[in-house]
Each structure stands twice: as C-alpha cells, then as structure tokens.
Symmetry: C2
Subunit: 412 residues, 2 copies
C-alpha cells in the first residue's frame, strides 16, 4: 500500500507494519492507520472523482487496501444526503441535511466497515470472518461476506432485534446468540476468534474497519461540494463510528480537499453514555449499564472510547444524552418531515441535535448534517410501540366514517 | 408534455388528453400512456445519460412529467445490478444478474411508482394522496409523500406484515387496516377516494404509476450497457409491475436504445396465480383466493391483469408457479449466494427461475436477470420461520464448544 505508512498505537505510539491481519497493540491500545498525505496529494484530486463509480471505493487513495484488491461485491456507500428544509425550520436551524445510511445493502452504516473487512480478509487469505456485534455489524458482515463467498461466525447479545437476526440467518452465518450483555458477547467472541484463528472483524480491534466507516464523512463532504458544515451529529455506541467519521474529515483536511473541520455532535442514550460522560467530566471513561432501547448503541464497555473521546475533543464538539422517549420522538419526526425511517440508534443523532437546538446550544445560523446510521425496518417492534396501531375497520364506508369521526380526523 | 401524445384505453382504444389526474377509461379499461417516440429520438441519446444523477429521473424524456416538474425529494432508483456468478453456476445458467430493488428509500420497487405519484399529484395541485396496497405501495407512498410534504390516507389489508405498517405509521400516514382480503381493501379505498376526491395512487387506476415502475427496466438495460438478456424474471401480483417493466423495455426498443426484447418470466405463488393461469389456459382471468405467505403478490383479483397478460404474451414469455416452501428456499439461496435479503414476494422471481431451470425450460446458455422487488426486513417473521433460530449460549467457551459439537458444526 503505497498510500499507507504504518499503523500506530493511539496509546503508546508504537508503530506496526500495516499487514492485513492487524489487531491491537501489544499494550492493548487501538491502532490507527497512518497515511502518506504528501504522496496522496500528488495522485488524488477532486476532479478524479467525476468518473468513478458511486460507492465507498471511489476514495481508494484514502483507503488502506492494495491497488489490486477487488472491491467486494455488494454496492456499499454513496447513500443519499437529503436537504431537510422543513425539519431545519422546525428545529430553528439555517441548514440541515440528513444522511440516510439505512439504504446500504444490509441497511446500516456498518456495511462500510464490513466491506472493508471482506477486502482485508481476502488480502489476508482468510476464508472465515468473525465478529461480535449488537446486530448491525453482524448482519452487514454476514451479507458482505456471503456475497464474497466467505464464511462467518457471528456473536450477538440475545437482546438483538429480530430483524437483524433474520438477516444473519438468511445470509447463512453461524450465529451465536449470547445470553448476556454486549460485553459478555464481545468476550466470548474474543476467545473463540483466538482459538480458531478466524479473521477478526471486531471494529475496536481491527484498525481497518474505522477506515471503511470514514467513507461516510468523505461522502458527506463531496455531496456538499466540499463546503464544510458547522456540525455533524451522529449516535455513539462503542465509539468506532464517530472515530471513523472524524478520521475521514481529517484526511480531507490533510490533503486540502476541505479548508476547515466541522464540530462533532456525539449523541448517546441517557441510559448508556460512558463516552459522553468521560468527555463531560474529563475523567477516564467508566463502564455503564446498557439501559436503552437503542440496541445498536447500548454499549456499556465502549471498546473504542479512546479514539472517540479524542475525536470529540479535537473537533471542539458537543455531547448530548437523550432519553428513549426522545429517541422515539425523533424517529417519528424524521419519518414525517423527511420520509426517512431510522432505527432507534439510527435517529439518536437527530434526537440529540433537536435537544441541543432546544437548549440553545447550537447557533441559529448553523449548517448541520445529521447521520441516520440504520434502517427502522431493523427494529419494527419499537417503531410500532412509538407510533401506535392503525385504524382497523371492515370494508364498510359507514364504519370508516365512524372511525374517522371517533378519532376526529379532519377530512378534506 | 412534449414527449407524450395521449393516454389510450387498452380495452376500447379511446384516447384521453394526458392530464395529471387521469384514472380509468369510461369503459372501465386501464389507460396506457402513449409517447411520441419520433420526437424522443431526436432529443434523447445514450450519451446524454453520462452526466445525469443516478436515480429514476435520469430517463426524463421517457417519463410522463412536465419539463419543470421537480423530482420528488427521496432518491429512488438506480438500485444495484449484481452479477451472480455462483448462483448462475448453481442454477446451470450462463449468466445471471440480480437487481436488488430492496435498497430503495422505503425498501421496495414500489418507490418508483410512488415517486411518480408524488410528481403527478403536485402537477395536479393535490395536497392529499391515497391508495390501497398490500403494503409496499403503501409504505412507499407514505414515505415519498412525507418527504414532499403531502398528506396520505392508506388502506392495507389487516394481514400486512408489521414492518410495512411500522413504516406507514412512522411516515405519518393515516392508516386504515381493512379486515378482509386485498380486494375488500381496494374496494373501500375506491369509495373513500371518490368521496373525498383525494389524488389516486392505485397503480391499476392511475396510468402514470406503471411509467414510474418501468424505470427498473430502463436501468437494467443501461446497467447491462444495452446488451439485452434472454429473460427477465419478476414476481407478479396485480400485474402493474411486470406491465411497467415491459413498457420500459418496449420504450427502449422503440427509440433504438436496444435491438431486441427479452422474454419475461412471470412468477406467481401457486396459491394465488390468476394472471399466470389466464396466460396458460388462454381463458379470461378468474379470481382466486390469496393463499400464500408472499403477501405483496397475494392478489386474488388482479387489477392490472389486462396489461400484464398482454406483456407476458407479447414477450413470448414463460409463466411459473412456486409454493411457499420454494419461495422461502429462494430467500435463503439469494442470501447465501449473493448477500441479498429479499422479502417473500421479492424473491419469488428467483424461486420461479430456479424452478424453470430445474424443469429444463431455460436453455443453459441463457443470460437472465432476476428482479428482487422488496427487502426481507419488511417481513422478518417469515424469514425467521424459514431460517430457524441461532445457537443460544451463555458467555462460556465450554458451553460454546458443546453447542458446536452438538450441531456438528465444522470448525477450521
């Protein structure tokens, strides 16, 4: 990889050669892929993008793959960025865009990391990939690996919503549902991966995965024609996604594609917010219970807290915690105003943004991007809880009229 | 609309001016939009496409909208077309592509029709759109209308899967769940639409909707670089989708973008196949019961049988009926071999294709496209029934080993 210098531990600074099967530093710290931006500047220009396919691999100069590594089969990335004028008005913002990453092949942002895992597993000559996941990393890995003809072993906590489990089973993964928390799930996967030597897709261990996730940031900037927004809001669980987003933005700044950096908005569930709490108190992060229906970000022991906390601080960002009620309200708000249906964790960034606007912590002339990280179809049970049931009648006009009038539905 | 001549009844031939609120002919027949291909040939060339956004509106010269009608907000279309080498081999086909329309904004092909409905409703100055639907047309209308700031009244049969209902409610539609068949649902919606004068999105009544659906055919051909496959397989319910697909292919043939036409494969559920039965017997179609778990195509009284039957016959196409078991097997097959998770109706085209291959009704040197019309996340309950439950263990390596050995899972 001509564009990559090495992998460097974020904790102790030790450097490693960027082999395809990298895991953590010997000190336990997480590695970060270090690029040769001077070189990249000479070979990568904005104009090059006009002729490339619209997927995450259009930014190949900024991705840690060999020149001849094929892009995995599923078309990941280039999700739509919608300008949300009515929602901006409601929230009192000058400009607002919604990035809908729920239209990825397996319906979440995690496809970006899993596609990278498949590419690197192939470089490593692996036939089997494994991970633990609250659900989306799992289903995205299972789908992307199936398309590439690779086998998967996947560990999910037993609370994972049915939609995600159904995806896994359909994609032919061997699925281990762990009776316990995400932390329990992670631990068992770690032992199994060590024992059988599977390729490791745990995003907080394999440093390449954040590099896949960062493409969401690259896309946002290209879709905004390199005009930098003031804030980007995103939900935070184990910290890999916000760290990846930040890495992408910094990459673009380093090669001169953008001239400043936005501030990050780190939105966590009030019932599980160890990363935000660390940022707010300035203390090291402490484990928390996983008390939220936003299952994808219910991570009490965030495995990538170091990179995430550094990203939020470096960006001069904001933290915000939202209740489950606020999350479900944001789900409806996005559906009604934008036609975007996000899962609970997927809309937590927007819930946080709304709260910050209400608290007056975002200036009214701000331009903001809010990332929806997963599709609401992943967790239908909670959506129905939030929205209620439809009007139920037989096929009879009088009964329909009665039902409308009972519910005081205005008709015109 | 300079590109449109008129709307013409497929039954009696009567012509109508192409106003935005067209419904059926006075004789009850369905209208078809008639284009001025000579004119279109002078203004539309393949090369024009290279600079256009990748969504269904890139084919505007072939779409029945005014030049200044804005494209609705959600990004519909340009779904991926995957070459499925391993699946082709399994089925004994030379070439096979899977068109995954489940990655549309509300996760089904119906977004193409609903986006068209929103565009035409705006032209008509309507503020409210209504439809009856087995679920996907409903959720796509609700989403596309919400994004455009329009209200929706939506009628679904009470059997509609939870995923689709959750979408509707989140998008803020007024949802009427009708206790009865799809036919009962359709009837009540018809009365209500007449009573309140809502813009009608029923695809078998509003002739513009097939014109939205046809973009799936336009895309397939462009994605294949205008090289025509031998067959295109698709599931068939009320007949609008296959009719739309055929219309798109004929459009391209008429303007010289393709030099021949493929044969259609009309796949229906064995428990509900009135259209196929009519094609096979040469008799007029007869209503059937709705005995299939593939809810989107469980249409006992197909409202667009005329156009669908004509399309299948004109193309020299094949019909095939599949059991629910064959549908669920196809769901797993697509998941495992392609990483594509389709809903039961969505994979029925592939189930039919597999059956035809087994029956020796498709030549081994054939090139085939199979369209997956909706995302498996829409109907998780049936997917779980098909695929079974995961291995469930506590976070304990010994228990994991025991579970693996009990299930005879090979480990390497």
């Amino acid at each position: 990889m001509r564009n990559v210098i090495c992998a460097c531990c974020v904790k102790c600074g030790r450097e490693y050669e960027a082999k395809p099967d990298l895991t953590n530093c010997e000190c336990g710290g997480i590695l970060d892929i270090v690029y040769d931006y001077d070189y990249i500047k000479t070979v990568f220009h904005k104009e090059d993008l006009s002729k490339r396919p619209y997927d995450m691999w259009r930014y190949r100069e900024l991705l840690p793959v060999e020149a001849d590594t094929p892009a995995p089969p599923l078309r990941v990335g280039w999700s739509p960025l919608y300008e949300a004028e009515r929602l901006a008005k409601q929230l009192g913002l000058k400009k607002l865009w919604i990035k809908d990453d729920g239209v990825n092949p397996t319906a979440s942002l995690k496809d970006r990391a899993s596609a990278m895992a498949v590419a690197k597993a192939r470089e490593a000559g692996a036939r089997v990939i494994a991970c633990s996941s609250t659900g989306n990393a799992a289903s995205s890995l299972a789908g992307n690996a199936a398309a590439a003809g690779l086998e998967t072993y996947i560990f999910v906590p037993s609370r994972a919503p049915k939609g995600k489990v159904a995806q896994l089973m359909t994609f032919g993964a061997t699925v281990i549902s762990v009776q316990g928390s995400y932390e329990d799930t992670f631990e068992l996967s770690k032992q199994a991966i060590e024992r059988w030597g599977w390729y490791n897709r745990n995003a907080a261990i394999n440093p390449y995965l954040s590099e896949g996730k960062k493409t969401v940031g690259l896309e946002i900037m290209e879709q905004l024609n390199w005009q930098v927004p003031d804030y980007i809001a995103i939900s935070v669980g184990d910290g890999c996604t916000i760290a990846g987003l930040w890495k992408g933005l910094k990459d673009l700044y380093a090669i001169g594609f953008i001239d400043r950096l936005p501030k990050l908005i780190s939105a966590q569930a009030a019932g599980c917010c160890p990363i935000n709490r660390a940022v707010e108190t300035g203390e090291p992060w402490q484990p928390m219970e996983e008390n939220t229906l936003a299952d994808s970000i219910a991570v009490g022991v965030p495995r990538n807290a170091d990179k995430a906390i550094a990203a939020i601080r470096e960006s001069g960002g904001l933290t915000v915690e939202v209740t489950d009620e606020e999350i479900m309200a944001a789900q409806k708000l996005l559906g009604r105003s934008c036609g975007v249906f996000g899962e609970p964790a997927g809309v937590t960034g927007t819930a946080g943004l709304k709260k910050l606007c209400q608290q007056g912590r975002i200036p009214a002339d701000a331009a903001v991007v809010s990332v929806v990280t997963g599709n609401g179809l992943k967790d239908v049970a909670n959506a129905i809880k939030a929205c209620g049931e439809p009007i139920s009648v037989p096929s009879d006009m009088d009964r329909l009229l009665a039902a409308f009038s009972e519910r005081e539905i205005p008709l015109r």
